[in-house]
Amino acid sequence: MSTPPTLARRLNEWGLPLGIVGMVIGFLIGFAVGTHAIPYSFGEDNSLGSDPGILLGYALSVVGFLAGMGFLNYPIGRLLGAKRPSEEDNAYIHGESGGLSRYFRMTTDHKVIGLQYLVMILAFLFIGGLGAMFIRTELLTPSPTIATAQSYLTLVGLHSTLMIFMASAAIIGPFGNYFVPIMIGTRNMAFPRLEALTFWLLPPAGIILLSTVFLGGFTTGWTGYAPLADQNVLGMDSYLIGFALIGISIGLSGVNMIATILTMRAPGMALSRMPIFVWSVLVTSFLGALAAPALIAAVMMEVFDRSYQTTFFVPAGGGSPYLWENLFWFFGHPEVYIFVVPAFGLIMEMLPVFTRRPLWGYRVAVGGMVGIGLLSFVVWQHHLFVSGLAPSLRPFYMFSTELISVPTGIIYLVALGTLWRARTRFTTPMLFIFGFFFNFLIGGFTGVFLSDVPSDFTLHASYFVQAHFHYTIMGGEVFALMAAIVYYLPKMTGRTMDIRLLRFQFWAVFITFNGTFISLISVGILGMPRRVISYAAYLQPLNVSATVFAYGLGLSMTLFLGILLWEVFIKQRVAAANPWESLGVEWQVPTPVPTFNFDRLPVSWSLPYDYDTGKPAADFGPAVPAFSGA
């Protein structure tokens, strides 16, 4: 029963090339209109164009990209009151035709979106990592050598912003999208087209951010403090639009996840039977949906400041840098919990599998994550302890920040409880999990020093802070990412990875990571500020040590990518159906996962941690249906 493909479907097939064409056309139109038709007050030396021109150009380039990809087909159809898409069209967009081309166009299958996210995350990770290698190379000497001030700061900004892009979706993007619908027993997300959109906002965001090098770069780092941001050349606009796109993606994805988890669970899938990973995604999605708008507000104000010379952040004109700092960090702090909470969830999801014991303290773990989520909204001023802002409020924020270590500690409590009498299977993911716990412990404790105001006076804005967040984000989330890739690769691609090589890679990355960042902790304690191209000469040995370890770290991460690509595309060894012997429902469904996840819905559900009884998460009922056509 196939009708000839409609024009819309034909265009969807060519989505990516059309999208790129649309991006270029959109940019040119926006740039032309913005530069010539939108007036702006006296501005900077803009031989390349004006801020409204660049901003409108970027905005329309995104619209053009999405139009080319086919995202506008459905809305325009609805606006014209056209007939709803046919079954065939829907099936095509859902990727039911199969094949590799699904991954290069707008596909609404959450499993395809999950793998698309994985590729994008790894791309951001490695391009950002190259930036880090450059930074560390420059810091081999106390004075500028290979970089100019502008190029150095731009690379600092690119490294950090790309990593922020990566970290905000590293776990939720690939694994949240792929597994949450399966884990709660539904066929797809609540708004599948919206989910595809949240992914397809990422490539333009990356391209726009990277295009800053053609516009002169930006010198504010990823925190974009005004009024320095007002001063910057056109390259700043790349950061603003790129970050805004990520904020929109985080917000929309958050809304979609919450709607899916709270309204689309299978019968019998009560909240108290939801896997802990799904809980972590739920908490994270609330953080994303509620915090991202603050970023959007701040970016809008900055856009106005740059285009219309408003004075939101310029004190002489009535504004204040503190306005940016408050709005940015009101978003920024929940953002870092967006990074880490899904990692907690995924680690706790994997622990029972490798310890062969139930999760110890499931309720407490859920409570801990909810506590982290709630508290994360009232700690943001700990980034502003030395700013001169509201000194009488500092004790409150010190208290709230120190308090957040209690629910975070609960994660360790649950982990220790699960591990306590367990005969742990030392699989490769378990190695990365151990690395996670070690690294995050250091990260968490360094955080305590920063949360205390008197000690923060010395440690703020030094490399100690740098090491703190690298320990939590890279040592925490990225290690969890690596564990998850190794753990879930058999499910997502049907391939397996070489154990011995991976174990070597784990030790390489663990040792080089700790070597790099222990050097940086020391350098920070000794007084080196962040984002500097030159530093006091006596700090050179430690910097050299950090750089040497960092090169090793870069090589180990590249090795991981190399192993991954080689195994998936070249070696292609087929994995067993459930190599880790997990009881989770995602392992009970066949590999490759059916288009709509389930051929039959389970008749009853339980927590997937019953390793003492061996009861799987989902009971699909009798093997043979009682009545045909039931």
Partner: protein, 199 residues
């Protein structure tokens, strides 16, 4: 055991079973919107309280004309009433009045947009020396205009789908858009009070 998903969503855009999801999501979006509005509110109050450089409301900057501001509220309120009537009719399956009310709502929404564009130009966009009251007011008007346009486009799609009988209006959709429009109208009333009176 039936194969159907519990919410009835077997096809991607089958909204019949997904009514509950739609209304819930509409409220979620309002929650997210609230953080956006609160950020703008924070900016307004913070800049006003501090009056840095005396440039919050320098001389020469007036408040927008009261008449225009009131009209900018009247139109969305009429739309709101029309949308409420639509929801009422659809949930009681009184189909006859739905189309007419939808057209009324759409017409008023367009007028809302037009007036709010006028309102956004009150400070002439010569904002470099106009101080922060003018800046935040213009930005807030622009944001509200954008939101009215987005929900207005959604309304247009509902109207077209219903009138062309390709997608008859369901109670869930009517409820969802009523909630959204009510929220934005409520916000614009608060913004009106702030910009006209709190200054």
């Amino acid at each position: 055991m039936s194969d159907a998903s519990p919410t009835g969503l077997t096809v991607i855009d089958d909204a019949k079973g997904g009514g509950r999801t739609l209304v819930f999501t509409s409220r979620l979006v309002m929650a997210a919107n609230t953080t956006l509005q609160l950020s703008l509110l924070f900016a307004f109050l913070y800049l006003r309280a501090n009056n840095f450089g005396g440039m919050w409301h320098p001389s020469g900057i007036g408040t927008p004309p009261q008449v225009l501001a009131l009209i900018s509220l009247a139109f969305p309120l009429i739309t709101l009433f029309a949308l409420w009537a639509v929801w009422s009719a659809v949930s009681k399956a009184r189909d006859s009045s739905v189309s007419g009310l939808l057209w009324l709502a759409l017409f008023e929404a367009v007028l809302t947009g037009a007036v709010r564009i006028l309102l956004m130009y009150q400070f002439n966009w010569e904002l470099d020396s106009a101080g922060t009251y003018a800046a935040i007011s213009t930005l807030w008007y622009a944001v509200l205009l954008g939101e009215f346009i987005l929900v207005g486009l959604w309304l247009l799609s509902l109207v077209m789908g219903h009138v062309r009988r390709t997608d008859p209006l369901s109670p869930a959709h009517a409820r969802a858009i009523l909630d959204q429009w009510a929220y934005i109208t409520g916000v614009s009333i608060v913004v009106y009070l702030l910009i006209q009176y709190v200054k």
